[in-house]
């Protein structure tokens, strides 16, 4: 077919390398989401206090994260910090940059969630003797995560795909590992088909984890 004959043996031999890359990819996608969500909650809460310094800093973060390419953010984390004498591994640079990027997008998603919750929920919770931390932890955030669950999942798929940018600074995540392996055998098509299938499986794993979180923590109610 089209004069291309598939050779799967070479790919099969390199599967352990690809699997290692896949694990790096899964790790960065999951950790960058966990860090990103934590930071996004802080950013979104800071932003609600309009006019404060925290709110302005949060706005700058969100603007920069959302309006510059993720690739550039990875370069800045790796080479930019390097130029300042702060040398971090390519793994840390990719994880940090994608977490930074996630935080910006997620903060914007959470903002919509916060806006959907009426002031009377805060008043009711405070009047029961809860301090602000408890009001957010037990009343506001659980509702915010319920209404924003789908957009958060979309963002986690973007985070997964963005990990492939790690290749440009030499990280052997799934794309980087595939690129390296195929360059020795030139079975490009086979290698990238296998990599694509692996991305698909990783995406399903992440969605499965999310379904688990949803079932355990976000069941019931609206």
């Amino acid at each position: 077919m089209f004069g291309y004959s598939f050779h799967w043996r070479t790919v099969w031999q390199e599967i352990p390398q690809l699997a290692e890359g896949a694990i790096v990819t899964l790790q960065i996608a999951v950790f960058s989401m966990l860090i990103g969500i934590t930071l996004a909650v802080l950013l979104a809460v800071a932003r609600r206090n309009e006019g404060s310094i925290a709110s302005r800093l949060a706005s700058v973060w969100i603007e920069v994260a959302r309006n510059t390419p993720c690739l550039l953010q990875i370069y800045l984390a790796y080479f930019g910090l390097g130029a300042l004498g702060i040398n971090i591994s390519s793994y840390a640079a990719v994880l940090g940059a994608i977490a930074f990027n996630n935080a910006g997008y997620l903060a914007e998603i959470l903002r919509g969630g916060f806006n959907s919750i009426s002031q009377t929920q805060y008043a009711a919770a405070h009047s029961l003797g809860m301090n602000s931390f408890r009001v957010y932890s037990y009343v506001v955030l659980p509702q915010v995560f319920r209404v924003t669950f789908r957009p958060i999942m979309n963002q986690s798929m973007w985070a997964l795909l963005n990990t492939s940018l790690g290749m440009v600074i030499g990280l052997k995540e799934l794309t980087g590992a595939t690129q390296f392996a195929q360059s020795r055998s030139f079975r490009t098509f086979e290698f990238f088909l296998v990599a694509a299938a692996m991305y698909y499986v990783i995406a399903k794993i992440i969605l499965g984890l999310a379904a688990l979180v949803q079932w355990r923590f976000l069941k019931g109610g609206r």
């Binding site: 008043a123 009711a124 029961l128 003797g129 009343v139 319920r146 109610g221």
Partner: protein, 241 residues
């Protein structure tokens, strides 16, 4: 005892509470009536510090609500409040709504809070709705849930802000009955309401609010059957017809 002394409150340029003096004794039921915008809700929310004030004092059992040293969260444990808008926590079932604060504020054990919550829900007639979510409850049931949730903190005072105003007429009775039951149990209550017959029969005193001031206050029957002030009379004629 709740003591309000020369309370003043503005929202920006808008002077809403213009010097209110009021004392509510332990065990008393006071109904507040008056036109919309006269400042009833604002005053109520000053009592548990949900609003700041510009001048005057609010003392609850001699604790100054607006003293910087006062632990507002602690104080709020003894003042329950129920609002006009339904505000059950939609992500929690009825029993979880009621159990939440005893657990996270008072630090009670989960099992004990569930028993406590079930007891209070049964008390307001929702014993068969423990695992229902607020979206599965009628307006009247949601308001009774809100009452049970406040009662679970074992408050010494209960404040009600037009809790029947958003209800369909056929659901008003069940919520009024719940408040009557609390009166019979000796709860100290301040009730903002438009239900004039209820105010007359269920409260000890009635205060008529007009433009940020108490225009008239006295024995419930006297104020409603035989008001001294012209403004009170005009208001009652308007709402009773």
């Amino acid at each position: 005892m709740i003591e309000i002394k020369n309370l003043q409150k503005s929202f920006g340029q808008h002077h809403v509470i213009k010097g209110i003096d009021l004392t509510i004794d332990k065990g008393e039921v006071l109904c507040l009536i008056g036109g919309s915008g006269s400042g009833k809700s604002t005053m109520l929310q000053c009592i548990n510090g949900l609003h700041s004030i510009d001048d005057g004092k609010v003392l609850v059992d001699e604790i100054d609500v607006f003293d910087k040293a006062t632990d507002l969260n602690k104080l709020r444990e003894k003042i329950g409040i129920v609002f006009q808008q339904y505000n059950a926590f939609p992500h929690l079932s009825a029993i979880e709504n009621v159990a939440l604060s005893p657990r996270v504020v008072k630090g009670m054990k989960r099992k004990d809070t569930l028993d406590l919550a079930a007891k209070h829900l049964e008390h307001v007639g929702l014993g068969d709705k423990l695992n229902h979510y607020p979206s599965q409850l009628s307006g009247g049931q949601q308001q009774r849930l809100a009452i049970a949730r406040a009662l679970a903190m074992e408050p010494e005072y209960m404040l009600f802000d037009e809790v029947t105003s958003a209800l369909d007429p056929e659901l008003v009775g069940e919520v009024l009955d719940t408040m009557r039951m609390l009166k019979d149990e000796g709860m100290t209550m301040i009730i903002v309401t438009h239900e004039i017959p209820f105010a007359r029969e269920a409260s000890d005193r009635v205060a008529f609010f007009d433009q940020g001031k108490i225009c008239e206050i006295g024995d419930a029957r006297q104020v409603i059957n035989d008001p001294r002030e012209l403004r009170t009379r005009q208001f009652l004629e308007r709402v009773l017809h």
